[in-house]
């Protein structure tokens, strides 16, 4: 499956958003142009593959969503209830060495990318029955934003 690669937003901007500071004008405009470009690529892909694809992700919104929805169990740099997430995009499923995964994840042979993270966040227990993570994100835009954020802490 072919997905356009996301561009990473500068982390400093993402942090401003998480602190509840409204995005500066320069940030808004960079996101806007970024979004336009991605829409075009995404539409082409959708035509070529005739399949639904994720909407454009916004890493700044993703960071806020991550704090609210994933922060109970995950941190970027600490293993907690779930594994740490820095570097997760592009890494093997179950790939954090010092975290003890369920067999469902440690036996998996797959890399986390747009498509696999999308499938996971839609319904983790359907993708890997037996996993200890049940939390799903039903909204397409929210999933895209969270995945963009995970990528921004992985590049």
């Amino acid at each position: 499956m072919k997905f356009p690669r996301r561009r990473t937003l500068p982390l400093v901007l993402a942090h401003a958003a998480a602190a509840g500071v409204l995005a500066a004008t320069s940030c808004d405009s960079s996101v806007a142009s970024f979004a336009v470009q991605r829409t075009t690529e995404t539409e082409q892909d959708a035509q070529q593959l005739d399949k639904p694809v994720l909407p454009n992700g916004d890493a700044m919104r993703g960071e806020t969503l991550y704090a609210a929805k994933c922060g109970a169990c995950h941190s970027i740099d600490q293993n907690r209830i779930g594994p740490k997430h820095r570097g997760v995009f592009g890494r093997n499923v179950g790939g954090v060495d010092d975290y003890e995964y369920s067999a469902a994840l440690s036996d998996a042979d797959l890399v986390w990318d747009d498509a696999s993270l999308d499938e996971w966040l839609r319904a983790p227990t359907k993708m890997f029955p037996g996993t200890r993570m049940g939390f799903a994100v039903g909204d397409d835009q929210e999933r895209a934003d969270i995945i963009a954020y995970l990528q921004s802490v992985s590049d």
Binding site: A67, A68, K69, C70, G71, A72, C73, S75, Q78, N79, R80, I81, G82, E100, S102, A103, A104, D107, A123, P124, T125, F128, P129, G130, T131, R132, M133, G134, F135, A136
Partner: protein, 201 residues
């Protein structure tokens, strides 16, 4: 955190028989012996599916246990910090005991499913994973408490859909409400803005 009954390979879809029927047959029908007996009986596929569901639910409930243990440890870190004013000590102790009660409820539910409940990590591990060295003021502690309680409310709501045994739905909804009540008190303490739009969690 392994619980020894990971049933990742057991298909959970495609069930042809009421799970409740099997689960309620004597309560502990899914203890190892019961599950084996069922698997060897006339309808092994059905028994296997129900056993797979129960094992999957146990894994989800054990993640909730891990979350509660972290919460209990967070309150202990707060209590030991010397940063709490006297009235906050009362709240921290009370809320910590709520989380202990949650874990007792979760343990009972896990045992009913024939599973094994996970225990806590060491306190040193919680100090590290919560980055407790960064907590310098009472407000830092309130912010951590709000973040964890709010996240826990959302996490419990997220368990309703994937849990296959419907008897567990009320349990996790009640636990979510407790976490939301805790979070609300911290929102008031921090004068944290309350969203105009619902749902709040």
């Amino acid at each position: 955190m392994e619980n020894g009954i990971n049933a990742a390979a057991v298909p959970t879809e495609n069930e042809t028989m009421s799970r409740r029927g099997i689960l309620s047959a004597g309560g502990a029908a899914l203890s190892a012996a019961g599950a084996l007996a069922l698997a060897g009986a006339a309808a092994p596929a059905m028994a296997q599916a129900a056993r797979g569901d129960a094992a999957n639910d146990v894994n989800l409930l054990n993640a909730a246990r891990a979350l509660e243990f972290e919460g209990i440890a967070a309150y202990q870190i707060a209590l030991d910090s010397g940063l709490l004013p006297p009235n906050a000590v009362g709240f921290a102790t009370l809320y910590q005991s709520h989380h202990e009660q949650h874990n007792e409820e979760l343990e009972k539910a896990i045992k009913r499913l024939g599973g094994e409940a996970v225990g806590p990590k060491t306190s040193a591990q919680y100090v590290q994973q919560l980055e407790a060295d960064k907590l310098k003021t009472f407000e830092d502690i309130l912010r951590l408490a709000l973040r964890l309680e709010r996240g826990a409310a959302s996490a419990y709501l997220g368990l309703i859909e994937p849990l296959k045994n419907t008897d567990l739905h009320l349990l996790v909804a009640r636990l979510a409400a407790d976490e939301a009540a805790h979070a609300a008190t911290f929102m008031i303490d921090l004068a944290s803005p309350i969203s105009a739009k619902t749902p709040l969690f």
